[in-house]
Symmetry: C2
Subunit: 226 residues, 2 copies
DNA sequence: GGGATGCTTCGATTACCATCGAAGTATGAA
DNA sequence: TTCATACTTCGATGGTAATCGAAGCATCCC
């Protein structure tokens, strides 16, 4: 009768539209204040505060106090992966909140998935890394090959810093628009940071969308050939 | 602000305890009648009926009329995968509805995941199939190798019947207790059916648990060596 | 046909929870 | 200290949805 883990609890946390909007906003990867999240959800600050403490109690969000602000973010990588997964399922059922709008193609092309690159570009990068044997699949785990390691170090990513964290370096995440895997984990995060630092890509203001510059497009295609 | 698919809708569907109990019960793989599902959820038939039509409208369940009974089951493999995934997330957050009971070890050892084998045995089978190169990973897809094909035909599984369906033959599913992949898809289903038809394993009455016989244990170890 | 079983629909009730106004706490600035 | 900003807590309200009794269909059996 009552077997296994309690999916009703998470379900009810995500099931409220205001909370779902907040979580979606946080999938953009930026830590947001309570007030910002309230506007995203279209509710007052009091209501938002109540929702946020529920999400935090449920382990979906974590909080960081900074002066008189409280910055909220997804508690862990797993939360982002789970949400992207749910979005994929929802999309496959045609559960869309709007008819595909002008922003939609941009999202499908490239977007932030919590802290790494997703969309067409995310999948292309993943496929290219696999094809060039810079990452490889061992059962459930994804690992950086020696070739891949020297490659990312050449790009200026500090490999030893990645190994210090307890988080997995490589990890797959199921892309909701492409229905295929892309790269998550600390390397996925480092690569997106790199693109932005180099000025190849920019995050859009209130959106998950990522816009590549002309230079960025070129560099990306060279780095990750089809 | 309102980007991407509507996760709140699925969330709210799963978020009700009665509905979550029904879905969990249907993860046992058997099609159940409305009355049976009502008892599983601990509610009256009227209430259950209302929940069931919501779940059906949401695309999570499908219905089959047989005489005066209505048999409900998960609409598609994807629904089962999504639920198992959510359970994994819930379990990792310690969201359990009960302190680990006597049934719990049995579930972790071997259980039905909608229509295929899960738990320790499910993962062992998957690992063995990979290690012996009978299935292989190509990017996101799992494929049966020629060796694997003749192997399952030797076991008495009708390979051509598997290819006729539009469903993928091989597919990975994330195991909530082991936190690793096991085999889903039409082959996963066929293998579990085979175990039961041969009398190697039995489904328990009102549970997802699967009990292997002494013969079954032996046959399983020989077929899928560590 | 008559009766029983399985399920749905209707209607009324209840309980929960999202919502917001108002007041309270904390941090920062002046 | 005083004022402003950011947020939480309290309390009251309202709306939604879960719940169940009763009645209505549908199917099967005799």
């Amino acid at each position: 009768m009552k077997e296994g883990p309690d999916i009703a609890l998470i379900g009810s946390l995500i099931g409220d539209p205001a909370r779902a909007n907040m979580l979606t906003a946080l999938m953009g990867g930026r830590a947001l204040t309570a007030t910002e999240l309230a506007t995203h959800a279209g509710i007052t600050l009091q209501t938002a505060s109540s929702h946020l403490s529920k999400l935090e109690a449920g382990g979906l969000l974590s909080q960081r106090k900074q002066g008189r602000h409280r910055y909220y973010q997804l508690a862990e990588d797993e939360v982002g992966l789970m949400l992207e997964n749910l979005m994929g399922f929802a999309a496959s059922r045609g559960m869309n909140r709007h008819r595909p709008g002008p922003k939609d193609p941009a999202l499908r092309k490239a977007r932030v998935c919590y802290n790494h690159l997703a969309g067409d570009y995310g999948v292309r990068m993943y496929d290219s890394l696999i094809a060039e044997k810079q990452i490889e699949i061992n059962g459930d785990d994804l690992a950086l090959t020696p070739a891949g390691q020297s490659r990312i170090e050449a790009l200026g990513i500090d490999y030893s810093a990645l190994t210090k964290s307890r988080r997995p370096i490589c990890r797959t995440c199921l892309d909701w628009s492409e229905r295929r895997s892309h790269l998550a984990g600390s390397l996925g995060e480092a690569l997106l940071t790199l693109f932005i630092d180099k000025g190849w890509a920019k995050r859009e203001a209130n959106s998950r969308a990522i816009r590549f510059t002309a230079n960025g497009e070129k560099a990306f295609s060279e780095l990750f050939p089809q």
